[in-house]
C-alpha cells in the first residue's frame, strides 16, 4: 500500500523563512531511515505559495490567482510532479488536465530543490524547474467516483503526451479522506483523527510517499516524522494509483 503524508506549512515558511540547520538535519535523518528501510518512494518540499498560482476551472472557464495563496480547501485528491521551463508552462499543462477532468481547483507551486535552501549548487545549464500541481478534493473525489471510460482514455493520451515531452515525472491519485488520518503535533502532544475531513485550511508544505504494509505502519512513521517536524499538522492519505 502506498501512503502519502502531506505536512502543512505555516506563516514562517510562507514568509520565506528557511528551515533551521537542526530541522534540516532531523528531517534528513528521518528521511534517511525511510530510505534505508526500503520504503520511501518520493519526498518533496514546496516553495512558499507566493511563488505559485491557484487555477480554478468552472464550466470551461479558467480563473488564475497569483500567490500568496489563502488556504481554503487544502484537502488533496491528486498530484503531478512536472519538469518545465516556467510556471506558465506548468499552468498550460494543468489546464490540459482540467480539460479532461472538468471543474477542478489546482494549486501549482515550485518544488524545493536542495540549492533553494542552501544545500549544494544548482547544476550548471539547468533551465527547467520542478513544479508540483495539487488537485483539490471535491464532492466527486470525496465520493470516490471512478473516472468514466472516456476520461480514462483522454487521461491516458494526455499522460502519454506529457511523458514524451519529458514533462511528467510522477503523478498519483489519492483515496477519499474517509480513508485518511490526520496527525496533529502541537504543544508536545500528538492527536490522531480519522477521516473524513470536512475541510482543511492549512497550505501544504511538502510530502513523502511510502510503500507500507498497513495503515498502522503509516501512522507509526507519521508519529516519528511529526516529532522531527515539530509543531505541525500532517495528513496521511492512501494513494489510489495514477490520476485518471
Amino acid at each position: 500500500m502506498k501512503f502519502m503524508m502531506l505536512h502543512k506549512t505555516d506563516a514562517y515558511y510562507e514568509n520565506g523563512g528557511l528551515p533551521s540547520k537542526e530541522l534540516i538535519a532531523g528531517v534528513g535523518a528521518m528521511v534517511g531511515d525511510m530510505v534505508k528501510s526500503g520504503k520511501l518512494l518520493a519526498a518533496d518540499g514546496l516553495r512558499s505559495s507566493s511563488q505559485g498560482v491557484r487555477l480554478e476551472f468552472s464550466r470551461g472557464k479558467r480563473t488564475v490567482t497569483k500567490g500568496p495563496l489563502v488556504g481554503e480547501n487544502e484537502l488533496i485528491a491528486g498530484f503531478a510532479v512536472m519538469r518545465v521551463h516556467s510556471l506558465d508552462e506548468a499552468v498550460e499543462w494543468a489546464s490540459r488536465f482540467a480539460g479532461v477532468v472538468g471543474d477542478v481547483v489546482l494549486d501549482i507551486r515550485p518544488a524545493t530543490e536542495p540549492w533553494d535552501i542552501g544545500l549544494g549548487k544548482k547544476p550548471e545549464g539547468l533551465t527547467t524547474r520542478r513544479y508540483i500541481a495539487m488537485q483539490k478534493a471535491n464532492a466527486r473525489s470525496e465520493a470516490g467516483t471512478p473516472p468514466t471510460p472516456l476520461e480514462m482514455e483522454r487521461m491516458g493520451a494526455l499522460i502519454s503526451e506529457m511523458k514524451s515531452a519529458g514533462v511528467l515525472l510522477s503523478t498519483g491519485g489519492l483515496e477519499p479522506s474517509s480513508r485518511a488520518a490526520r496527525l496533529r503535533n502541537f504543544g508536545g502532544k500528538q492527536t490522531l483523527v480519522d477521516g473524513p475531513f470536512a475541510e482543511s485550511k492549512e497550505l501544504v508544505g511538502g510530502f513523502v510517499i511510502l510503500e507500507l504494509e498497513s495503515r498502522a505502519e503509516a501512522i507509526e512513521w507519521a508519529r516519528r516524522y511529526t516529532k522531527v517536524l515539530g509543531e505541525v499538522e500532517l495528513d496521511i492519505l492512501p494513494v489510489a494509483g495514477l490520476t485518471a
Partner: protein
C-alpha cells in the same frame, strides 16, 4: 489508545524495527536463530507492557535493550561455551550502566553499526551453504520481516513447510559456523551475486507467478523491491545493486497494466502505457543512471534494466528502439549464455529486422534442445509463425505452450491463441 489500536501500533513498530533488531542481535549472539528467539521475546514483552505504559519514545532502543537482557538469561540457561559467554558478557557490559543509559548507548551503537549489521544479515541469509529456497525463505523472514504464514501464503505452500525450511536453514548456518560479516575481497562479488539472485527470485515469483491461479502476486514484488532498495543504501558502490533496483522498479511500474479487466495477462506491447506507474519508472531510470555512473561495463542486471528502460522511454509500442534492444541483448548473451536470453533476443530481432531472421534463431534453439519444455519457446515460435502466415504450425506451438505452463491464466491465454489460429486455418479441401 484502545487496546486493539495499541496492538496494531505495536505490530507496526515491529514491522519497522524487526530487521534492525535481528541484525543488531545477530552481531552480538552470532546466531540468527537465537537472535530471532530474542526478538520474539522482546515482542512478547512489548505486548505485555506497552498497552499499559504506552509506546516508548524510542521503541527500537527499548526492544533492543529488552532483547539483550533476555540474551543474558539465555546464555546462563543454555550454558553456552565459556568463550562465547565472555564475548556476549563483554558486549553487554560495554554498553553498561543503568537501564536508561544502556538504552541510549544501544541507540548510538545501533546507529553506528546498523548499516553493516543489516548488510551482514543479508549476506548470511543468502549464504551459499543454504539451498536457494532456504535462502529465499530466510531472507524474507529475517530481513524482510515477514511471518512464516505470510511467506507460505506468498509461495502457495503449507506454513509448516516454510517453518521447517527456516528452522533447517538456521541450523545449517549454526553448524557451518557461518561468520556474521560482510565478505571482503574476491569473495564479495560471488556472495553479492547470491544476494541479488535471491532478491530477483522473490520478485519474479511475484511478477510472473510460476504456479497458481493468479498471474501476479504483488506483495512479493513489493517485498523484493524493498529488499533491493535497502541493499542499494547498504552497498551504494556496487553497480549491479543499482542495476537490479532499476530492473525491478521498471518492471514493477507495469504491474497495473499487465492484467486485463478479468485478470488475464496483457503482454508488454499491448499494454496501456498510460497505466504504467511514472513514479516507479522515474526511480528505475535514476537507479540505472547510478549504475552507469559507477563506470565499467554493465552487468547482467543493469543490462536487463537498460532493456526495460528502452520500453519505459517509448511513448508507444511502435516507438520502441528495437535495434538498441538487440544490441543490449547481444551484450547480455555474452555475459549470460542462457538459451532464455537468446530467445528474448530473437523476439527483439523479429521486431527490429523481421520474423524470418528471428525464426532462424528460435529454430537453432529448438535444435539445441535446451528449452524443450519451456512454454515460452513454443509461444514465441508460434508468434513468429503467425507473422509469417504459417498459422497451422503456429496453432500446434500455442497448444504445446498451453500444455507446458503451470500457470492457469497463462494456459488460458495460450489456448485462446491456439483457437484464434484455428479460425484462420483454411478448411482442408474435400477429397
Amino acid at each position: 489508545m484502545a487496546r486493539s489500536a495499541t496492538h496494531a501500533a505495536i505490530e507496526a513498530v515491529f514491522r519497522i524495527e524487526w530487521p534492525k533488531l535481528i541484525a543488531g542481535l545477530t552481531r552480538v549472539v552470532r546466531d540468527v536463530g537465537v537472535a530471532e528467539e530474542l526478538a520474539h521475546d522482546a515482542l512478547v514483552a512489548a505486548l505485555e507492557q506497552w498497552p499499559d505504559e504506552g509506546i516508548p519514545d524510542k521503541p527500537g532502543a527499548w526492544l533492543m535493550a529488552t532483547a539483550k537482557h533476555r540474551a543474558i538469561d539465555a546464555v546462563r540457561r543454555a550454558k553456552l561455551l565459556r568463550r562465547k559467554h565472555e564475548e556476549l558478557g563483554g558486549e553487554l557490559e560495554a554498553l553498561g550502566g543503568e537501564v536508561s543509559d544502556e538504552r541510549e548507548a544501544i541507540d548510538e551503537a545501533l546507529d553506528d553499526q546498523i548499516g553493516d549489521d543489516m548488510l551482514s544479515l543479508m549476506f548470511v541469509s543468502c549464504h551459499p551453504v543454504l539451498a536457494t529456497e532456504a535462502r529465499v525463505a530466510l531472507t524474507l523472514r529475517m530481513v524482510g520481516g515477514l511471518t512464516t504464514g505470510e511467506i507460505a501464503r506468498a509461495f502457495l505452500v503449507p506454513e509448516p513447510t516454510i517453518a521447517q525450511r527456516i528452522v533447517r536453514a538456521k541450523r545449517t548456518l549454526s553448524e557451518a559456523r557461518v561468520p556474521f560479516e560482510v565478505p571482503r575481497g574476491e569473495a564479495l562479488g560471488e556472495r553479492l551475486a547470491s544476494v541479488l539472485e535471491v532478491v530477483y527470485l522473490i520478485f519474479n515469483e511475484g511478477y510472473s507467478a510460476t504456479a497458481g491461479d493468479d498471474w501476479l502476486r504483488p506483495a512479493l514484488c513489493d517485498d523484493a523491491l524493498r529488499l533491493a532498495r535497502m541493499l542499494a543504501e547498504l552497498a551504494p558502490a556496487e553497480p549491479e545493486v543499482h542495476g537490479l533496483v532499476a530492473l525491478l522498479e521498471i518492471q514493477a511500474s507495469r504491474s497495473a497494466a499487465r492484467s486485463g479487466a478479468n485478470g488475464e495477462p496483457v503482454l508488454l506491447l499491448e499494454q496501456d502505457r498510460g497505466r504504467w506507474d511514472r513514479l516507479l519508472i522515474r526511480r528505475g531510470l535514476q537507479a540505472l543512471e547510478r549504475a552507469e555512473r559507477l563506470g565499467g561495463a554493465l552487468g547482467p542486471y543493469a543490462l536487463q534494466a537498460a532493456i526495460a528502460a528502452c520500453h519505459a522511454r517509448a511513448a508507444t509500442a511502435a516507438a520502441t528502439d528495437w535495434p538498441r534492444i538487440v544490441a543490449l541483448y547481444d551484450a547480455l548473451a555474452s555475459l549470460v549464455p542462457s538459451p532464455v536470453v537468446h530467445l528474448n533476443r530473437a523476439v527483439a530481432v523479429s521486431m527490429a529486422f523481421g520474423p524470418a531472421e528471428a525464426l532462424a534463431i528460435v529454430d537453432s534453439l529448438v535444435a539445441g534442445g535446451k528449452l524443450e519444455s519451456y512454454h515460452l519457446l513454443c509461444a514465441v515460435r508460434g508468434d513468429l509463425l503467425v507473422k509469417l502466415g504459417r498459422v497451422g504450425e503456429a496453432r500446434g506451438e500455442f497448444e504445446r505452450a498451453a500444455s507446458l505452463t503451470r500457470n492457469e491464466r497463462e494456459r488460458r491465454l495460450m489456448q485462446a491463441r491456439a483457437e484464434a489460429c484455428s479460425a484462420l486455418v483454411a478448411p482442408a479441401p474435400l477429397a
